[in-house]
């Protein structure tokens, strides 16, 4: 109990750090993921190839490797002075975007064929078909996998804690170095993660419920 009370501000900082990392990376992943999914089904071959490459490469790369690239290669070669939060968000966001893209693409696949055919037959273009007909319907099937993807993202942000970011992992490391019992730290950190993951789960359940339509 003392571990928590003595270091309440540290825990709070770590908890908020994890939330911030998760939120920012989720935003990046969502935007990129939808765009990449669009690329993968688009009529333009180079974009399709790019989308496929993006997904295949990122899904088969360990996140730790991406962090190494973000923290040792990017500052050295491309952008010298980005802070560690932005770099961590980029690494987590890019990694997760590949999973989001796959979820969105399989969501697009579940929209009945006739919908797109009808849209085309009344003269809609690819962008219109996607924006007005397919994506709104795909949203419904995409929500449950997205929930697990964002929960995984929450857990993945722990790696950012090892790279100069203040988050729950970083807090557990600091406290362990201060000589507190790891078992007690572990219990509190676990509880914090459970709160975040259950919150995300509940939020998405709610969303799923709102979007539910008899088909």
């Amino acid at each position: 109990m003392n571990v928590l009370l003595d270091n309440l501000s540290l825990f709070r900082e770590g908890f908020i750090g994890t939330l911030e990392l998760t939120g920012a990376s989720a935003l990046v992943a969502m935007v990129l993921g939808v765009i990449i999914a669009g690329f993968r089904v688009s009529p333009v071959p180079p974009l399709r190839i790019f989308g496929t490459l993006w997904v295949t490469l990122l899904r088969n790369t360990p996140l730790t490797l991406l962090f190494l690239v973000a923290f040792f290669v990017v500052p050295k070669v491309l952008f010298p002075d980005l802070d560690s939060f932005l770099l961590a968000v980029a690494a987590c966001g890019f990694y997760t975007s590949a999973f989001v893209a796959e979820a969105v693409r399989s969501g697009i696949n579940t929209v009945p064929l006739g919908q797109a055919e009808a849209a085309r037959s009344i003269g809609m273009t690819f962008t219109q078909t996607m924006r007005l007909i397919v994506l709104p319907q795909a949203t419904r099937t995409v929500v449950p996998p997205l929930s697990s993807i964002f929960i995984a993202l929450t857990k993945n942000t722990a790696i950012a804690g090892a790279f100069n970011n203040v988050d729950l992992f970083n807090v557990s490391k600091t406290l362990s170095n201060d000589g507190y019992d790891i078992a007690v730290i572990f219990i509190w950190i676990t509880l914090a993660y459970l709160i975040v993951t259950y919150a995300i789960n509940g939020l998405f359940r709610l969303l799923e419920h709102r979007l539910e339509v008899a088909r």
């Binding site: 088969n60 730790t64 796959e102 696949n109 857990k155």
Partner: protein
Amino acid sequence: MSASVLFDAPGPKARVRNIIYTVVGSAALLGGIAWVILRLNEKGEFDPALWDIFNYAGIRQNILEALLATLKVFALAGVFSLVFAVVLCVARLSDHRPVRWFAVVFIDLFRSIPLLITIFALWVGILGTMSPFWALVVGLTIYNGCVQAEVLRAGVNAVPKGQKEAAYAIGLRKSQVLTLVLFPQAIRSMLPTIISQLVVTLKDTSLGFMILYPELLHSARLIANNTPVNGVYPFVQTVAVFGAIYIGLCLVLSWLATWIEKRGRKAKTGIKVAHAEEPAASDVAPAPGAPVVSAADPRGETIVTDKAPGKDN
């Protein structure tokens, strides 16, 4: 829905537009790549001397040892996690309520803790002193065991009910029904998902980096730090080489999963084989308390529209 339903066969105008998009798209992509290459060149990262380090026998030896260290953890964790998964899955399907509840809580708990934190706690000594190697193996086993257990359970649940009833009807005992009838079919249908999860296990061995286990990424960093060439530390080069090794290993395993899935799809008998590339099979722990790995559902709802065009519901 395949991509081609989303747009018409291009007419003359669309063809011109598509060509323009193609040119603009390729130009943007090539431009991006060219910019990165130019920057790399500007910083002198293509200096042959920096790449020459991979010709040293010592460095090659280091790479080989790191690769073996990674594969050793992967092999042990892979085998242990599968065994653990079977145990957990049996417990999860048990008729005895306390056993079932224990399994549910255990699985849900360890799937929602970041693996890194589990490994770190094991390393620091939550269960007594542990070398980085065993901390990594045990951490990976617990986490992946939980995920694989849920995969197996989804597979068992997907076996048609008649199979179980028939097995009981000819007088098999509970353990026989599970080992002779349910598990073989579940494992067969879930093999692609299981292998995809093994890819995740392989990727997660890289977390050993954080607890100083000498696996691939750790030795990449050591090499980069210890082999300065003319005062430049070869980070870009080592990351490129080690990244290629990692991606290569994972791609091989992923292809194996896809190949097995395709082979299973062709087979006329048995229940449907799960998708190899479903999101739930990735490192995604399905939501705590959520109804199984729904995306890994072997009934393959998502491909129905693919195969039966024109069948709207």
